[in-house]
């Protein structure tokens, strides 16, 4: 996990996510709005098993570099946005623990909401990340998988 003294903080790591830390980190004196998104694992599933935990697989360098592209695209669309932090867990994640956190600060709330939603949508569509659902006696890759896109191919919002 690396903290930039800049306006971006990207981390893909096995460490437990701390949403509060991200919200605190994005706070800036000239920003009246902070929007955060936490993606947690639902206990329901498309499979007929009760999910105990998840396993997230990726190549950390590749995933972090793709998240940085998401942030760059968000800044191009909403230049007023100040700080953006995006963390994604890898490895084993218990159900109900956040697997991904996005935090965005901005002077006004409209662009903070828009940028946060863009970031999580783009992370899901453009970052190499594979979720395995683990139940009592087995496991399987998530059925939700979608073709990976480039951030430049996403619909303008």
């Amino acid at each position: 996990m690396t903290v930039d003294q800049s306006l971006d903080w990207v981390a893909v790591s096995a460490e437990r996510l701390n949403p509060d830390e991200l919200a605190d980190w994005v706070m800036r004196p000239d920003c009246g709005a902070i929007v955060t998104f936490f993606g947690t694992t639902r206990t329901t599933s498309t499979l007929e098993h009760e999910i105990i935990e998840l396993e997230y697989d990726t190549d950390i360098d590749l995933a972090e570099s793709r998240i940085r592209r998401v942030i760059a695209a968000a800044r191009e669309r909403w230049p007023q946005v100040r700080a953006i932090a995006i963390h994604h867990r890898v490895g084993t994640v218990a159900v109900r623990e956040p697997a991904v956190v996005v935090a965005v600060s901005s002077p006004h709330r409209g662009e903070a909401f828009a940028a946060a939603q863009f970031c999580i949508d783009a992370v899901k569509r453009t970052v190499p990340m594979w979720k395995r659902e683990v139940w009592q006696n087995g496991s399987a890759w998530s059925q939700e998988a979608q073709d990976i896109l480039d951030v430049g191919d996403l619909e303008p919002s």
Partner: protein, 78 residues
């Protein structure tokens, strides 16, 4: 000879995460990978994107030892 990074389900199907595979183009490297890793890998490959150094690349792209090819199956992050 290129570095190949096998991600998620491609990693599982191939049994390895990284491999060095022969071939002068992306298509040749992938043909050799199918021979080496078998039909389950071929199925995953059919639905995957291929990146060379992090960018989408056409099948006829020339590749060499300094290039990293990634096999990127459909994603399910977050």
């Amino acid at each position: 000879m290129s570095q190949v990074l096998l991600l998620g389900p491609a990693h599982e199907a191939a049994g390895v995460r990284r491999a060095e595979i022969e071939g002068d183009t992306l298509a040749e490297v992938m043909a050799a990978a199918v021979t080496r890793f078998g039909p389950r890998f071929a199925e995953i490959l059919a639905i995957s994107r291929l990146w060379v150094n992090g960018e989408d690349a056409p099948a006829d792209q020339a590749v060499g030892p300094s290039d990293e090819i990634a096999v990127v199956p459909p994603v399910s992050g977050g």
